[in-house]
């Protein structure tokens, strides 16, 4: 498709289990972001990938959270030993950084993966 695709759209898991969330960015977009949105809250930055550069992991809330981006395209966000406070919508976004719209900052968001930890 033409937009950012995320899967699964909904995930219910038990406390202590590991989960993986997937993001397929827009083709050609070099920047990829993960944000977390708790109920009724704004978007909390988690991690940022740009090309082959080292990712900016400064937003990850704990060492239970990690993310990879393989081949400069698909990204996976992994949460280990999930806790109830991890319940949120996890949003992925991509942007065309360095192209003709460099520094516009416009992010194209997916529809998110809703995680519920019981």
């Amino acid at each position: 498709g033409a937009g950012v695709s995320q899967s699964p759209s909904n995930k219910v898991t038990e406390k202590g289990k590991d989960v993986e969330l997937r993001c397929d960015p827009i083709s050609g977009h070099t920047a990829l972001y993960w944000y977390r949105q708790s109920l009724g809250q704004g978007l909390e930055f988690l991690i940022y990938f740009q090309g082959n550069s080292a990712p900016d992991k400064s937003g990850l809330p704990s060492d239970r959270f990690s993310a990879e981006r393989t081949g400069g395209s698909v990204s996976t966000l992994t949460i280990q030993r999930t806790q109830q406070e991890d319940s949120a919508v996890y949003l992925c976004a991509s942007s065309l950084v360095g192209g003709p719209f460099a520094n516009t900052g416009e992010l194209f968001f997916g529809e998110g993966s809703r995680l519920t930890v019981l």
């Binding site: 944000y35 009724g40 704004g42 978007l43 900016d56 516009t104 900052g105 416009e106 529809e111």
Partner: protein, 112 residues
């Protein structure tokens, strides 16, 4: 730390009236600002942006105003329509930093 906030949590507006959504940002070094709209169950969608060297920018039915003196950003929606019902987020970006810092959002409810 990063702090972008909105004054009003919920705005109810009559269809056809104009809406104004306000946002205060804390970092005077921020040089770029964006408004996003998020409908229920969907990801945020870009509405309009403005750079810090401007104080006003207009789009289709939307206008963004930037007052750097008081670090205030607003979004004006003309002739509000039912489809404008959503949560609106402002976001700021600092020079050399590729992340956007988002506020908590402001719910707009359009009354038919």
């Amino acid at each position: 730390g990063e702090s972008v906030g909105l004054h009003l949590p919920t705005l109810s507006v009559q269809e056809g009236d104009n809406s104004i959504i306000n946002c205060a940002y804390s970092n005077s070094a921020s040089d770029y600002f964006i408004w996003y709209k998020q409908e229920s169950g969907k990801g945020p969608q870009f509405i309009i942006d403005i750079r810090s060297n401007m104080d006003k920018r207009q789009g289709q039915r939307v206008t963004v105003l930037l007052n750097k003196t008081v670090k205030h950003l607003s979004l004006q929606i003309a002739a509000t329509q039912p489809g404008d019902s959503a949560v609106y987020f402002c976001a700021e970006k600092r020079p050399g930093n590729n992340r956007l810092a988002f506020g908590k959002g402001n719910q707009v409810v359009v009354i038919p």
